[in-house]
């Protein structure tokens, strides 16, 4: 029997051979993995781009392995790149200010071929025509990303309880009215909650704040969290609005309200206040996603390919209505893309008021003293605990 012939000595020899073979095989595998970046793409993104509806056609047409990881806040994604993951990811999809103000200066992303990608902007909605500010570097020379999904994002009301007109007129003061304590929720979106609390406190979030403003912020954060009926995710907010547990909730807009609207609840509506403390007296805040190519030493050639792929009208429409949340896309400026949206879909993303809401919104920006304000808010939330 073969087994009986294995002596202790030749067992060791055979083991060594096997080990060598495995090691060799492993290395051969690694070499293949490097070569296979031609057929491999890794995307770090907000949810939607990681959905099968968006990725599967790309996978099958390119015979590529596409991995996408979705996260729900920008700083986490940026810090993943800062922590050395630039050699993993090929594309990063975050909100507008990060590419231009942080990622390009820190060399976390690299510029795109302007001649190849700028024409895409020309078929977008008018406000995104090239050169589009957030897709360019500070000098206005380099194209650093592509814009697709966007939307106003301030707060959401159940219009059966608070009319749209009242909400738009009263704006952030809804949270300053003591009678509203216990009637509202707060979406667990801590970076945006910092912006909104600044607005409730009556000053622009996107600047350095003086001591007086920080004190006002502290007081506002304590009061607003104390009065909240609940804090939770988008599904919980929509459910609580529909069930009547709450009448409105902080931080929200098309992005968060659209799933409920698409599900037959048009009374759930994102609101952009008519006026507020933001630059130019604007009342709300809007986000625009910019997708950029990561400064990966071995970036996949599929990265730019994917950026071009999502521009096609049918794919852009799929991105707008990918699983999770539903959002307007810049490509709706292209009639070929726009005609793919049904009336119900346009209702879900509040197309009727989109233009005026965007006009009333300041664009999302970086809060210079974000860390300090976030710590204050986290403490306020904790101190409201059990109250």
């Amino acid at each position: 029997m073969a087994l009986a012939q294995i002596s202790r000595r030749n067992f060791m020899q055979q083991s060594a051979l096997w080990a060598a073979a495995f090691a060799g095989g492993g290395m051969a595998g690694m070499a293949t993995a490097q070569a296979a970046r031609e057929k491999e793409l890794n995307i770090l993104c907000w949810e939607g781009y990681n959905s099968a509806q968006v990725l599967d056609p790309f996978r099958s047409s390119r015979g590529a392995t596409v991995k996408a990881e979705s996260l729900t806040n920008d700083p986490t994604m940026i810090n993943r790149l800062r922590a050395g993951e630039t050699n993993i990811w090929d594309l990063i999809n975050v909100n507008n200010p990060w590419a231009r103000k942080i990622m390009l200066p820190e060399k976390l992303i690299k510029p795109l071929d302007r001649a190849k990608f700028e024409p895409f902007f020309n078929s977008m909605m008018p406000e995104f025509k090239a050169p589009y500010k957030w897709a360019m570097d500070d000098s206005g020379e380099q194209l650093i990303g592509i814009a697709q999904r966007f939307g106003p994002y301030s707060f959401v009301v159940n219009t059966d309880k608070v009319s749209r007109a009242t909400a738009e007129d009263q704006g952030w003061n809804l949270w300053n009215d003591p009678a509203n304590a216990g009637k509202y929720g707060i979406l667990e979106s801590d970076d945006w909650n910092v912006f909104c609390l600044c607005c409730i406190a009556g000053f622009d979030p996107f600047k350095v704040h003086n001591d007086e403003e920080v004190a006002k912020f502290t007081e506002t954060a304590k009061r607003v969290f104390k009065g909240a009926k609940l804090v939770g995710d988008i599904a919980t907010m929509n459910q609580a609005l529909v069930a009547g547990e709450i009448d409105f909730h902080l931080t929200g807009g098309t992005y968060s309200a659209s799933p409920a609207r698409a599900d037959g609840h048009p009374e759930i509506r994102g609101i952009t206040p008519k006026s507020g403390p933001l630059a130019g007296g604007k009342g709300g805040i809007a986000w625009i996603e910019i997708t950029s190519v990561v400064n990966n030493p071995q970036v996949s050639p599929l990265a730019e390919d994917f950026l071009a792929y999502v521009q096609a009208p049918d794919v852009a429409h799929t991105v707008a209505f990918a699983e999770g949340t539903y959002n307007p896309v810049t490509q709706m400026g292209n009639p070929e893309c726009f005609k793919l949206f049904s009336k119900e879909q346009l209702d879900a993303i509040q197309w009727d008021s989109l233009a005026e809401e965007m006009a009333r919104s300041a664009e999302y920006d970086i809060v210079p003293d974000y860390d300090k304000l976030l710590d204050i808010m986290t403490a306020a939330k904790r101190e409201a605990s059990g109250g």
Binding site: G232, Q239, A240, A379, R382, S385
Partner: protein, 278 residues
């Protein structure tokens, strides 16, 4: 090198790499400067200072209090059920065990969202009461009782099964002997069954406490974050705050507090003695 040591070496290395290394990494990270992402910074106590100067104690107290309350409630609820499974239900106890086990196959979050649908205003419970019986009641969702309900529900099997084992370890002969010697049913329970099933009860309590101190989903989903347990503070530090060293320091403190409590309990109740090995 003794053969015993040599044979144990692979397992020891595995434990070192898989169990000790992450704990050491977290501990080391807790001494790194705030809001940094590398292991190479100059060690500092700043994160611990921040925690002791902050209101983090509120979260610690909530976590410990909720876990303690869960353990007490579960001990009271699970003991009769465990007793029934071992002594009363007979052939039905298999079915009952199965019913208690099946929910474990469903993700905790999904089960908790199920409770949300059940408890929410106009939901399964309140909606039914309103529609069919005309009873208007306030929902307990997003309140402390809802969190406790969720924790008791989620951790029930972890208390129940060690207890069942503990009770089943009490020999029938011992109970019979006690009865023959004239003990009343209460005396048999009080003086024979309860002490002899104590190992199961203790293991159940410890297991449930340690798991419940780490609970986060109940307070988030059923409690609407009305209470922020320490685990949630840790999560915020690692995500929105992007302050990994602070999160690591909070984790180390939690491990120390829970570790100290477990050691205290184990010193009071030596499991080996309880299990009759010594």
């Amino acid at each position: 090198m003794s053969p015993g040591f040599r044979n144990a070496l692979p397992v020891m290395l595995f434990l070192l790499a898989g169990f000790a290394a992450p704990l050491i990494a977290v501990t080391w990270f807790s001494f790194m400067p705030p809001r940094t992402f590398a292991f190479t910074g100059t060690p500092t106590l700043e994160n611990y200072e921040t925690i002791f100067q902050s209101t983090s104690y509120i979260s610690f107290l909530w976590s410990l209090a909720l876990a303690a309350l869960t353990v007490v409630l579960l001990a009271l609820i699970a003991y009769p059920v465990a007793y029934g499974l071992v002594r009363v239900f007979g052939k039905w106890s298999m079915l009952a065990t199965l019913l208690f086990t099946i929910p474990l196959f469903v993700s905790e979050n999904i089960r908790l969202y199920g409770w949300v649908l059940f408890l929410i205003k106009n939901g399964v419970m309140l909606g039914t009461l309103k529609t069919y019986f005309g009873i208007q009641a306030e929902s307990i969702l997003f309140t402390l009782p809802a969190i406790v309900l969720g924790m008791v529900y989620v951790y029930l099997p972890f208390m129940l099964f060690p207890m069942t084992l503990g009770i089943s370890m009490v020999p029938q002969d011992t109970r019979d002997a006690a009865t023959d010697l004239g003990a009343s049913r209460w005396q048999v329970f009080r003086e024979v069954e309860l002490p002899l099933s104590l190992p199961g009860i203790m293991i159940g309590c410890l297991l449930t406490f340690v798991l419940a101190v780490g609970a986060i989903a109940e307070a988030k989903v059923l409690g609407g974050q009305q209470i922020i347990p320490i685990t949630h503070d840790i999560e915020i530090a690692f995500t929105y705050s992007q302050n990994w060293p602070l999160g690591a320091a909070l984790s180390v403190l939690l491990m120390l507090v829970v570790g100290a409590l477990v050691v205290l309990v184990l010193r009071r109740f030596d499991l080996d003695v309880l299990l009759g090995r010594r």
